[in-house]
């Protein structure tokens, strides 16, 4: 039709649901019987002590908060348990160089709210004055320079959804269950929409020398975090980011500017960025020699160990979200998160019996490279003990290993890049425990 044929006061109900479907592969489909009748309370059976739906609830009988009470809003006080947590075992008393983990059992979708984004630092959270911020780019460049924040933001921006993960994620239990919860087992990863400039855009402007093979990224905080990045990654999808989920970076995430290396070790995504140097040789900094290396089974160490592995975890049920309120016959959704630093999740398999049999889960919502991907599988609860596993595969051909295969491959000394399949044992009463599944 021509644009003229429609006037703005026509009411047209959008009848193009398929236009959205293009963005979703394998959308989960549920039948009428997806939910058991037993999960439902007939109107006639409301308990006397429950709010009578036909009457006004207490909060309906008075005015609420002023609309402008909070210029910057806050969560409901009823959600006070939806917070990040630090574990002493991972802090050894040092709360400046530790990690505060995301409560995945309370997360929805693929966006982690900034207030719950996992927080890892080596010297505490620096508070950078954006007016005093400077970023130096030098070394093998035609035009070395120092940028103010305002100058950096002059570059055309892009926004992308990516996860960030600490390479130690999973180290709290990969030899076998150590913590009986989800938050401490895989809580060192979160996912956000990042806004900034492609590093390639900046380097095209400054004239990168063909001899430049490595980039040093240095932070301005007291820990002097510095890492060496191969130029191929820099020119592929590396970004200098100043925005996270629609607002400026949080101080915990490197305000005002951090390096973003999609899919690669969290510590490489240098926060409170100060300096980028380009060279024909690597630097072998403290954080890539004494630290963030990995001893292998053969006794040799891996120096650089960049992309995070293909990974997944069942987030419902889990020890914090048991099935204790289910009744036999209820249909229930097993759901969780999968991600890979090497590309896009193609498949997530689920086992209900500790790995003897596997079925393919549905992938839900947006399926983006180097971003969290949601998976789903619906079962009918039979009240019998189960051992739930999830196993993810990415488009680079990698597959998530069992704990035993991982140990066989890389030994037991290192603590980094542990992406084993985690076992959730569901007891007949619905309680869920973290168990070591032999394979």
């Amino acid at each position: 039709m021509t644009k003229k044929e429609k006037t703005m006061n026509e009411i047209t109900i959008n009848n193009k649901p398929n236009s959205r479907r293009n963005f979703f592969k394998k959308s989960a489909v549920y039948s009428m019987s997806a939910i058991a009748a037993s999960s439902i309370v007939p109107i006639s059976k409301l308990n006397a002590d429950e709010v009578e739906i036909t009457q006004k609830a207490p909060w309906g009988t008075k005015l609420g908060d002023l609309v402008d009470k909070y210029a910057y809003g806050i969560p409901s006080p009823y959600e006070h348990n939806n917070v990040r947590r630090v574990h002493d075992l991972l802090s050894s008393g040092d709360r400046y160089a530790t990690v505060s983990m995301t409560p995945h059992h309370l997360q929805e979708g693929i966006i982690t709210p900034n207030g719950l984004f996992f927080n890892r630092s080596h010297g505490g959270t620096a508070h950078v004055d954006p007016e005093k911020f400077r970023l130096m780019l030098h070394g093998l460049l035609e035009k070395p320079l120092v940028l103010t924040l305002k100058q950096l933001k002059r570059y055309p921006s892009i926004s992308r959804i990516y996860f960030i993960e600490c390479p130690a994620n999973g180290s709290t239990g990969w030899r076998g269950p150590q913590f009986n919860n989800l938050q401490f087992v895989k809580g060192m990863t979160s996912c956000a929409e990042w806004t900034g400039v492609r590093l390639k855009t900046v380097l095209d402007d400054l004239g990168l020398s063909p001899n430049a093979k490595w980039m040093l990224a240095e932070g301005s905080d007291n820990s002097e975090m510095a890492r060496t990045i191969p130029i191929e990654k820099v020119l592929d999808d590396a970004m200098l980011v100043w925005g996270q989920n629609g607002e400026p970076l949080r101080p915990e995430q490197g305000y005002p500017v951090r390096l973003l290396l999609p899919g690669w070790e969290g510590n490489l995504n240098v926060k409170w960025l100060k300096r980028l140097e380009f060279s024909d040789k690597p630097w072998h900094t403290k954080e890539e020699t004494s630290k963030y290396t990995m001893l292998q089974a053969n006794g040799k160490g891996i120096n650089y160990f960049w992309p995070m592995e293909v990974n997944s975890i069942i987030t419902s049920p889990c020890p914090e979200v048991p099935w204790t309120d289910l009744e036999v016959g209820d249909k229930i959704e097993i759901s969780g998160l999968a991600w890979s630093g090497r590309g896009t999740i193609t498949t997530v398999d689920i086992s209900l019996d500790g790995g003897n049999n596997w079925v393919e889960a549905s992938l839900k919502g947006l399926i983006l490279p180097k971003a969290w991907t949601r998976f789903s599988y619906i079962i009918k609860w039979d009240g019998k003990k189960k051992v739930l596993l999830s196993r993810s595969i990415d488009d680079s051909g990698h597959i998530q290993p069992s704990i035993d295969k991982l140990i066989e491959n890389v030994g037991v000394e290192g603590i980094y890049h542990r992406n084993p399949i985690v076992g959730w044992e569901v007891k007949s009463n619905g309680e869920v425990n973290n168990v070591h599944v032999r394979s």
Copy 2:
């Protein structure tokens, strides 16, 4: 390759950038000359009063905040101006029934952080006890029932990115400029990732009668907001949502459960949801008779007026983000937001001369139906006065009108569904003002 061919300690740099591109149409491409040299500070020219990049900044000489200082993180204190704002003219002294607007000039990407999501209510923000929450579904259903929050969340969830917009957005200036800023001109819309259950999934479970043509949605707050929804929309993409950007809904957004009608008037997305009734006739509630109707030029009123119109706004530059620091010859990005309640944005045109000439902008990042879409166009600043306009078109064939065309079409009495093209006059000194462009 087979999965076995790769061991987990191989380093494979992802060389599939194109795998991501599938999700982006018309990605903006920038040349080396995208940024003018004049926007850059040579190292040798650092002012004495500026931080010497070769020295430690003040925040680099001491420990930062403890990693676990904030269990739920907060923004940098330097960003204290990045907040929602209420205007007296729209409140008439009543801060319970008013709207607090999103600062679009400080927004990045397409996700609005929950703390900055625009907030409109009719009786203030209700604080619902999730344990006492009940949702009644009744009327033309085989299985009428009352659900607890836990029972509702048993249904398989989906997550989708959608904007919400108050139908009064744009009413502050659609007859001509009223406010000389962006926040009060188009600030009654925000965009988030919502998680909940498709209403169709619930109705398939409860057995909707074929005679059901309308649904009444009623809130539990003191304003008793109630609206009538046609069943076609209910069965298309309506959701009952409990999650927003990865966490539970904020109280301001209807915690614990609101109705989500993608692309339709904000007030239809009933907050603090209490009751859904199904009938063969509409209800003609207070909010769709005395209110949220629209008087047309012909003197007749529109009763139901559901989908939000195709819209767009240039967010940089704008009165709050002027070009006063540009030098002649600088390249600069004109960027903004486009959205439509009827579908997906297909085109955004930009004019630099008040509408005499138009050029097509690039669409950036994810392009999703009924979600914010970013557009971009780069120019070289010549220091001459300009009048910037943006005009969006969606895949339903609608096109954003000029103020004069809109008035010609619907008159000047109503205040709803005003989506005119906004004019930003850029003076030779870079100042930006909201101007009425005649057409």
